[in-house]
Structures are given as structure tokens and as C-alpha cells.
């Protein structure tokens, strides 16, 4: 039952990709349309933002060129300003009036959680790449959401374990005061304790923050060996900068629990050398990643973060599933997505599980010293590959109602 409706405003350019082929009968409205909701100008705009939009467009273009589908593919995007209400309302409006079939990226967990619900109610797919908290695939899981790139369980499995092994036994957390920060702090605490370390305390800072001086002082006063930064983007960058200003480093070690290559680029190797971080993607890992990343660099003048690469991968996989299923109906596509293994430059032998978690190998990286870096963006040593079955929460421990025990 279609209702006649005046087109509501759309927040950014509508990019029509591909010539108009004859419509496949089961593709709704004859078009597969993506709605990219991301942070275009705020705290997370560098690690996601315009890069995510570009990556999504690349995926669409590549799919059309390679697979020559018989349906149209379009994309629209908007800035959600990291706000759950803007995201939910935009998603609802897009689904109701703009024929959007899949929501993409959703950096910042509160936006992801809000949109997942709206999309599920209206039977649309959500491809989460930017957000990280584990509730997305546990308590709040649903059958139309795919959580692609990383989560707060996988990050400490790499970073925290490595830091504790290096001797960083006592920890203090500076945490962004929203779902993501809390989730990251809890998961890291668990890993620290399991590895034989101790958590001395934590303090929460408003999100987004700007002046971390008082929180850093609290961390300093605790005497912990390691200060875990349970935040991301600009918050992490500022915490690290101000820690240096206050002489907190190098006496105490900073652990950036979620760091992206964009952060390292912003801070410089001087400030970040030796830091451990866990990532789902590194542009310089192998020939395939290099080839794709170079194409991305040509467009954006920056190397891609795992979020941006993950967006490409999820969008491409979705399109493959649509083609294979012959429809863009959400549940059918999700079923196909789970059936097909994920094999691209981003993930090898990746698999989308019933709880919505796409499991794939993660990498433990260590930031190079300035002297070790030979060319621009040559930032990481990859110290360890964390296999998919260790990097993510096993299904047996999942609290997702969809997982049959």
C-alpha cells in the first residue's frame, strides 16, 4: 500500500549510480538504495564521515562494473551529528519516503542502536561498521542487522592482553560517558583481570570532551601503570596530547583502546610510537589491501581506516546477497549474507553469524618509531593475527536471543 507523499528533504547529494536497466520484479521500487548515516563534521568524522560515503560509492561502482546487476543502485547520505534522535528520525524518514533499503555505517553506538530498532520494525537491513559496542550483537541484537568491522570485545583481546603481558598490570580507565565507552571499559576490564592484571578505578568524561586535565590528574593520582583510554576519535587524540602536556607520559603508559590510523596520523609517530592497538584492517598488510587502499587514497587523500574499509566490504557483500537472492527483502538478503562467506580484501573466510556478528581475523599492531617509518602512512608493525574464533565472543557466551542454546 503506497501512500502518495511529497518528497521530504534529503540531507546530502543523491548519487545515482548506473544506468537504468529493466527492473527485477522482486527488487522493491526497482532500486536498491543505501542510506549512509555517519558523522560528517564532528568527533568521528575522520575515521568515518566522508570517507565512509566514498567507500560506499566505491563498492556500488565496483559491483556494477563487475557483476552487471539488472537492478539500479543508489545512495544518499546524511550527517547524524552523533545523535540518536537525528539518526532515528532520518532513518525513519528515509525508509518511509525515500525508499531506502539498507542503512550504512552508523558510527557512534547510540545512533546504531536507535536505527537498528527502526530498521528492524520496518524490515530493512542495517549494516553497522562504525559503531563498536557489544550490545549490538548481544542484548539488542536483531535479525536484520549486520555488525561488520570490530567490536569492544575484540579490541582488548588484542591490546589489553599484549599490554598486560608487557608488564602493565595495574590499570585506570578514562571512559567516554556513553554506551560505547562503558562497553569498552567493561570488556577491557574483563580481559585485564583474566590476564592477571588489576583495575584500580575509572573516571567518566562527557562525550564529546575537550579538556581532559582533571580526568588525567585523577588517573595520575591512582598510580596505575596503565591508563586505558576508553574513548575514540578526537577524545583519544586530546587525551594523549594533554597527557603529554601534564607530564603523565612516559611515567604511566597510555593504552588507546580504540585507535584508528587517522588518530595516529593526527598525533604523529612521535606521540604514539610503541602504542599497541587492535584493528580489523591495515592498508599496508598485503597486495590486495594496498591496491584497494591506493584507490581510496586517490579519492580521499588519506589512507582508509578499518571503518571505511569495512563499509565497502559490507555494502559489497550485501549487493552480492541481493543478486543471489533475487530480492532486496531484508530477511531474505540477511539469510543469503549468512550463507555466503565473506572473502574480499577486508576479510578472508569471514562469516556473518546468526547474532549479526561478522567474524573475521583481527590484527594486533604496534605503532612504529619515527625512524622505522619509510614512507607516508607507514605506521604499523603487525605483531599478531588474532584468528576469528578468538577475536569475537563465542556464540556459546552470547546473550543474543536469536542464538539457540
Amino acid at each position: 500500500m503506497k501512500r502518495r507523499a511529497l518528497a521530504s528533504a534529503v540531507a546530502a547529494a543523491v548519487i545515482v549510480a548506473g544506468p537504468a536497466f529493466a527492473q527485477s520484479a522482486k527488487i522493491s521500487d526497482g532500486v536498491v538504495k543505501f542510506g549512509v548515516l555517519t558523522d560528517m563534521s564532528g568527533t568521528y568524522s575522520d575515521l568515518a564521515g566522508p570517507g565512509t560515503v566514498a567507500a560506499t560509492q566505491m563498492a556500488i561502482d565496483d559491483f556494477i562494473a563487475k557483476e552487471k546487476p539488472d537492478f539500479k543502485i543508489e545512495m544518499i547520505s546524511a550527517d547524524h551529528q552523533n545523535k540518536a534522535d537525528i539518526s532515528a528520525n532520518k532513518a525513519r524518514e528515509w525508509i518511509d519516503t525515500q525508499k531506502v533499503d539498507a542503512l550504512v555505517d552508523l558510527v557512534t553506538t547510540s545512533t546504531a542502536l536507535a536505527v537498528m530498532k527502526v530498521a528492524n520494525e520496518k524490515n530493512r537491513v542495517t549494516l553497522v561498521s562504525g559503531a563498536g559496542s557489544t550490545p549490538i550483537t548481544n542484548e539488542q541484537c536483531n535479525d536484520t542487522t549486520a555488525h561488520w568491522t570490530y567490536d569492544t570485545y575484540s579490541l582488548p583481546v588484542g591490546t589489553a592482553k599484549a599490554v598486560v603481558a608487557q608488564g602493565g598490570k595495574t590499570w585506570y580507565f578514562i571512559t567516554a560517558d556513553y554506551a560505547f565507552g562503558h562497553s569498552l571499559e567493561k570488556n577491557t576490564s574483563d580481559v585485564v583481570k583474566k590476564s592477571g592484571g588489576k583495575v584500580l578505578g575509572s573516571v567518566r568524561h562527557p562525550f564529546p570532551g575537550s579538556d581532559f586535565s582533571s580526568f588525567l590528574l585523577s588517573a595520575q593520582a591512582s598510580g596505575a601503570q596503565v591508563i586505558g583510554l576508553a574513548n575514540a576519535g578526537n577524545d583519544t587524540i586530546n587525551s594523549i596530547k594533554q597527557a603529554k602536556e601534564f607530564g603523565i607520559t612516559p611515567k604511566q603508559t597510555l593504552a588507546g583502546l580504540l585507535m584508528f590510523i587517522s588518530d595516529v596520523h593526527s598525533l604523529g609517530l612521535d606521540a604514539t610510537q610503541g602504542m599497541y592497538l587492535t584493528t580489523g584492517f591495515y592498508w599496508d598488510y598485503n597486495d590486495e589491501t594496498r591496491a584497494w587502499s591506493k584507490r581510496f587514497f586517490d579519492k580521499m587523500k588519506r589512507m582508509p581506516t578499518m571503518v571505511q574499509a569495512g563499509n565497502y566490504s559490507s555494502v559489497y557483500h550485501y549487493l552480492k546477497a541481493v543478486k543471489a537472492a533475487g530480492t532486496d527483502e531484508a530477511k531474505a538478503v540477511m539469510t543469503k549474507m549468512r550463507e555466503m562467506p565473506v572473502n574480499d580484501f577486508f576479510a578472508k573466510n569471514g562469516k556473518l553469524r546468526i547474532d549479526g556478528r561478522m567474524v573475521h581475523d583481527m590484527y594486533l599492531a604496534q605503532v612504529k618509531k619515527p625512524s622505522e617509518s619509510k614512507y607516508p602512512w607507514d605506521y604499523y608493525h603487525i605483531r599478531q593475527v588474532i584468528p576469528a574464533d578468538q577475536a569475537f565472543i563465542p556464540l556459546s557466551e552470547s546473550t543474543c536471543p536469536l542464538v539457540k542454546k
Binding site: 575537550s210 579538556d211 582533571s214 593520582a221
Partner: protein, 294 residues
């Protein structure tokens, strides 16, 4: 050594940070108090002009290679001039109306200024380096105090008390105070009161911009830095007594310390303790701690 279960180091550290924040509160509320005293306008645009000051300093450095020390003097003058323009073209027309229109106008101006900067720069902040001369810090034992932050405290105190001195102890200042009490009589004495009003607004705004330049190396220079701050500064001015110069300086510094103290014992409340105090003061001493009822 512990006070109430908190190590004295932590306490002193947070108090010092509180003093730094308090310095900003003091300069900003000083400007607001001066403007309110003479113009009877609550300058909602104060936060946006503070932000503009920080941004102009950054733009000056980024595009024109102007360094911090020049910016510290030049930027307040530029922003002060802009303020005078605003007063001449817009605020002037509102004096005969209900005071609330002044508040609404400056609120609209704040939206415009903030919107323009957001459009141009996005929300994520720009980095402004600490000037060479002030990098590094003092090891105070209980904490490591970056030199720049010590500088901020020092220069704020100088500016605040300097302004107070000018207003309360000089002839120029006496004209200002007279204008606050009875502008018509002052005009009859031959003083150009409208000009004085314009200059006063410009000065108040220049103070805000000065605080902005001071803030640039400390906080990320971003378009919302002012609006986050202005609400707190309003509370400071109201607590201190709107129109009382010394009141706003002391209250600003004092509240910064209170905030720092709260951070030690109950960090989440540090954002709101000032408002609680404001509510209490308004109920018990409606004109503010240092103000006079008008």
C-alpha cells in the same frame, strides 16, 4: 596525607585545574557584568565572541603566520571593533524596549556566529600550538603544572584586576559607573553617553575574545566551545551579582575552585554544582552575592 579520604596531591591538582577554569569564568563574567551594568543587556553572544576570538587567533596563525603574542593583542581589538559595530547597528535600537529583547537579539547573534563557524570549520576542533616560550612546565611535587596554564592564571588575574581598577578607581571608570546609575544626568554634564556605551560593549566583547585567544592552545578550537561555556558563565554572573565587577571576578575564581573540588569527590556533579549554587543564592540573596538590587 589524606583529606576526607582523598590524597592531598589529588586535591591540590584538581584545585589548580579549577583555578584555571575559574580564570576563564572570571574574565568572561567580567565582560558580561560590564556590559550588563551599563547597557542592561544580557549578552548571549558572549560565548560566540569568545569562540570567534579563539578562531581568529587560529586563522591568524594558519593563514597569516601571525604568532600567539601578536594575536593576544590584535584579536581582541578586531573582535572589539566588531562588537562596537553590532552595538551601533543593532543593540542601540533596543534600549527603549523591554530588556528581554536585548537578550533575544544577542541569542540570535550567537546562533549566527556559531552557525557561520560551524559551516566553515565543522565541529571537530583545530589544534593551536602552545607558544614556544610557554611550553614545558613546573614540577610542583604534587603535580606537573604546564607553564602555559600557569600563564593563563597569571594573565587572567592581571587583566581582571586591571579592569576592576580602571572601573572603580579612575575617572574614566567613574563616568562608566555614573552612566550606569543615571545616564541622562551624565549626558547633561556633557559626557557623550552613547559613545561610552558603544565603547563599553566593545571592551566587554574584547575581553571575551582575549579569553578566547588564551583558550586556543588549551582546548581544541571548535565552534561550540563558546556555547558550552556561556551557560556556566551566566550562572557565575548571576551568583556574583549582575553588574558587580568585583563580584563577578571573585565569583568566577571561586566557582572554578568549587568545581575543581567537586571533581574530586563527586565528578559527575561538577557540571551542575554551579547551578545548584545559583539557585540557592537567587533564593536567599536575589541580587547576587555582591550585587545591588535594581
Amino acid at each position: 596525607m589524606d583529606i576526607l579520604g582523598v590524597p592531598i596531591q589529588a586535591l591540590m591538582g584538581q584545585l589548580l585545574i579549577g583555578l584555571i577554569n575559574g580564570s576563564f569564568y572570571a574574565i568572561l563574567s567580567l565582560g558580561l557584568a560590564i556590559i550588563f551594568g551599563l547597557l542592561n543587556i544580557i549578552n548571549f553572544a558572549h560565548g560566540a565572541l569568545y569562540m570567534a576570538g579563539a578562531f581568529f587567533a587560529w586563522i591568524a596563525m594558519d593563514a597569516l603566520g601571525i604568532d600567539y603574542w601578536v594575536a593576544l593583542v590584535a584579536v581582541p581589538i578586531v573582535v572589539g571593533a566588531i562588537g562596537m559595530l553590532i552595538e551601533r547597528t543593532m543593540l542601540k535600537h533596543l534600549y527603549r524596549l523591554d530588556h528581554l529583547y536585548g537578550l533575544l537579539l544577542t541569542f540570535g547573534l550567537a546562533l549566527i556566529i556559531e552557525g557561520l563557524f560551524r559551516y566553515r570549520f565543522g565541529i571537530s576542533g583545530q589544534s593551536y600550538p602552545v607558544p614556544e616560550l610557554l611550553s614545558g612546565g613546573f614540577n610542583l611535587g604534587f603535580m606537573f603544572l604546564p607553564k602555559y596554564r600557569a600563564w593563563v592564571i597569571a594573565v587572567s588575574l592581571v587583566v581582571c584586576f586591571g579592569s576592576w581598577y580602571i572601573i572603580e578607581r579612575t575617572k574614566l571608570g567613574s563616568y562608566l559607573r555614573a552612566g550606569t546609575e543615571n545616564p541622562q544626568l551624565l549626558q547633561a554634564f556633557g559626557i557623550n553617553v552613547p559613545l561610552m556605551i558603544t565603547l563599553t560593549y566593545g571592551f566587554g566583547v574584547a575581553l571575551a575574545a582575549f579569553a578566547g585567544v588564551l583558550a586556543a592552545p588549551l582546548f581544541q578550537v571548535n565552534p561550540v566551545m563558546g556555547s558550552n561555556l556561556i551557560i556556566v558563565v551566566f550562572a557565575v554572573v548571576v551568583i556574583g551579582g549582575m553588574g558587580s565587577i568585583m563580584g563577578s571576578i571573585i565569583t568566577g575564581l571561586g566557582l572554578g575552585l568549587v568545581e575543581g573540588l567537586t571533581r574530586v569527590f563527586y565528578p559527575e556533579a561538577s557540571a551542575v554544582v554551579i547551578f545548584v549554587i545559583m539557585g540557592v543564592v537567587l533564593l536567599l540573596r536575589p541580587a547576587g552575592l555582591f550585587g545591588r538590587e535594581r
